[in-house]
């Protein structure tokens, strides 16, 4: 009887661990770090969701690692880099992905923290809590035993969802863009994106600029080459992000960072990269788009040795 129960539990664990819910919702894709053990990387990128979706090194003649995870703050982009830089060889490129509001402070709940327990050193987890760590790691190792009801609920829901909704619905990019804009305005308390920043936001920008500066200096002190990148967004979204907005929220931010020697690629509006197929929504790039965009960036920094000169 015991053996049957154990076999059942093991099988259930396997199903849960393979589920989209466990890997991508509960742990937000952190499982890519669990087995990662490739040394001598030529390139890695940091970032939150925009970095996570923008880069894909599969099939390229470079060793690359997409370290981005979402959602997360710039501080945690840095913390991941601090934990994983030993995998890069000297002189490797580190693509620091920025998004339209990287300069502001975004708050995330305890739920966003749990993924870090599975792959970061405790000293680099903001708000670290030993009891929480224990709970998360127990769930990670043995999900069905740790939270059977939750597993059944979400995995069954996922299975039913897969059966019922086979066809991917078309994305309405205008609606998606509007949703992002509304979400950001609410999240950061902004009424007019073109207006000057509030004093509170200016303060946050100063503090964030310090983090980004530290991140750049961290790379150069270890003989890595940092590159700042803003990946393309869908034209439906870029229309909202005017020159004025970009000057205030991005260029001013970088002026405060004050590392003019670091290469900066502002690709928010990238000619030739406007097609819908390159995006999954107005902000995030699709797998097809990521493969193309990664080639574009790596080609610019000379990592593809000119083999892709016709790609643009």
């Amino acid at each position: 009887m015991r053996r049957i129960a154990r076999a059942f539990c093991n099988a259930a664990n396997r199903i849960v661990r393979r589920s989209h819910w466990y890997r991508n919702i509960y742990f937000c894709g952190a499982d890519k770090f669990w087995r990662f053990n490739t040394f001598n990387l030529d390139v890695a990128n940091t970032g939150s969701n925009s970095g996570k979706y923008a880069f894909n090194y599969d099939g390229l003649p470079v060793k690359g690692f997409n370290m981005a995870l979402g959602p997360q703050s710039l501080e945690h982009d840095f913390n991941i880099l601090k934990n994983y830089f030993s995998y890069l060889h000297e002189g490797a490129r580190i693509i620091i992905t920025l998004c339209p509001f990287s300069c502001l402070h975004s708050k995330y709940g305890a739920e966003a923290r749990r993924k870090y327990y599975t792959f970061l050193h405790p000293a680099t987890i903001d708000g670290f809590d030993d009891a929480e760590r224990m709970e998360v790691l127990r769930f990670m190792e043995n999900p069905f035993k740790a939270k059977p009801k939750m597993c059944i609920k979400f995995v069954v829901r996922e299975m039913i969802g897969k059966l019922l909704y086979r066809r991917v619905s078309e994305v309405d990019f205008s609606q998606s863009a509007q949703a992002f804009i509304d979400g950001w305005k609410k999240q950061f308390g902004i009424v007019d994106l073109d207006a000057p920043l509030s004093s509170q936001h200016v303060e946050q920008m100063e503090q964030r600029a310090g983090v980004l500066r530290d991140m750049i200096d961290f790379c150069t002190a270890r003989s890595f080459k940092p590159i700042l990148v803003i990946p393309p967004v869908h034209p439906a979204l870029s229309v909202f992000l005017t020159e004025k907005f970009r000057d205030r929220y991005i260029y001013d931010f970088l002026r405060k960072v004050n590392r003019p020697d670091v290469q900066f690629m502002d690709d928010m509006v990238l000619p030739g990269f406007e097609q819908d197929e390159y995006f999954i929504n107005a902000l995030f790039i699709s797998e097809l788009g990521a493969k193309r965009y990664t080639r574009i960036v790596l080609d610019r920094v000379g990592l593809l040795g000119g083999i892709d000169s016709e790609i643009r």
């Binding site: 040394f39 934990n83 830089f85 030993s86 060889h89 050193h121 760590r133």
Partner: protein
């Protein structure tokens, strides 16, 4: 069989001498420790490496008492190395053996007092002395280049060194950049204990240490025998093993000492202890040294940035 390597001792920059090979002790506890220490002594080992976070200093202390009794050995015959470290998660917890982030990290509640570094190191040294049942430590190492307190920790090390409680001080897992951060200090590290293997030859760091008069001690010197899957690597070792009529472990350890490195292999098996120290009566030809070097991939067995982020 006892290997006498007393004539081959290594001199540190402060004149202290140490044996050319040591005995690793992680993870060895209780009776196994007692047996290993006596077997190690009988085989010729005179240097023993431990650490506060191997949680076996007390067991080593008991083993040493037994050794002194059973073999008429004296404290002065041995060279004891220990380290000051962060805590590790215990074996019965998830993530066992990984760092806890309690000591020497600014974010830790344990580090909020202005005298935290001083207090913790003093307590740790006291404890090591008591556990090892000794009045001095031959070599004390900072286990990792904890980035938040690199200078403060070293200042404490200098203090204990000047007091004579520790005869020599050094670092572990430090890169040139971390050692350079200490260049304005009064006393420079005498030893850097690092991972070196044919898959991670560390040539430039070794060269840097040499240029600074720092001796390089090597942990996990034969771990690749267990962890590497690549058959070409094992074929190479087998080939050299046949050529020199030595075991692969001996080839690896000889490759270490022939570069002036000081390996600290661990084994709880008597025959292996003897095997690992019988490496001072043959040498590898230059071409074979280069052949071993050619397997370098900069592959770390213990990933440094995960163990000590931001170092």
């Amino acid at each position: 069989m006892v290997v006498d390597n007393s004539g081959m001792s290594i001199q540190l920059s402060n004149g202290v001498t140490m044996p050319p090979i040591g005995l690793g002790t992680y993870p060895v506890y209780g009776e196994a420790m007692c047996k290993m220490i006596v077997d190690g002594w009988d085989s010729g080992y005179r240097m023993i490496d431990t650490s506060d976070n191997y949680y076996n200093e007390e067991d080593l202390g008991v083993a040493l008492s037994r050794l002194y009794e059973a073999r008429n050995a004296k404290r002065g015959d041995l060279f004891l190395v220990t380290k000051i470290s962060d805590e590790l998660y215990p074996v019965n917890q998830p993530g066992a053996g990984t760092n806890r982030g309690i000591f020497f990290w600014k974010s830790s509640p344990m580090m909020q007092s202005p005298t935290a570094v001083h207090d913790i190191i003093s307590r740790k040294i006291e404890r090591s002395l008591r556990s090892l049942n000794t009045e001095y430590i031959d070599l004390l190492l900072v286990h990792r280049p904890y980035p938040d307190y690199i200078h403060e920790i070293w200042a404490e090390f200098e203090r204990f060194y000047k007091q004579g409680v520790v005869k020599a001080i050094g670092v572990s897992n430090y890169h040139a950049r971390n050692i350079e951060a200490l260049s304005s200090c009064e006393v420079l590290p005498m030893v850097n204990q690092i991972e070196v293997s044919p898959l991670n030859t560390r040539k430039s760091l070794i060269e840097y240490c040499r240029s600074q008069g720092i001796k390089v001690m090597v942990f996990a010197p034969i771990m690749t025998l267990r962890t590497v899957r690549d058959s070409a690597y094992h074929d190479m070792l087998q080939g050299l093993s046949k050529k020199y009529d030595r075991t692969p472990a001996q080839v690896l350890l000889r490759w270490n000492v022939q570069q002036g490195l000081i390996p600290i292999p661990k084994s709880t098996q008597r025959s292996r202890l003897e095997e690992n120290i019988a490496i001072f009566d043959f040498s590898l030809e230059d071409d074979d040294m280069s052949l071993i070097d050619s397997f370098n991939e900069n592959r770390q067995y213990v990933v440094e940035s995960k163990a000590c982020p931001g170092f």
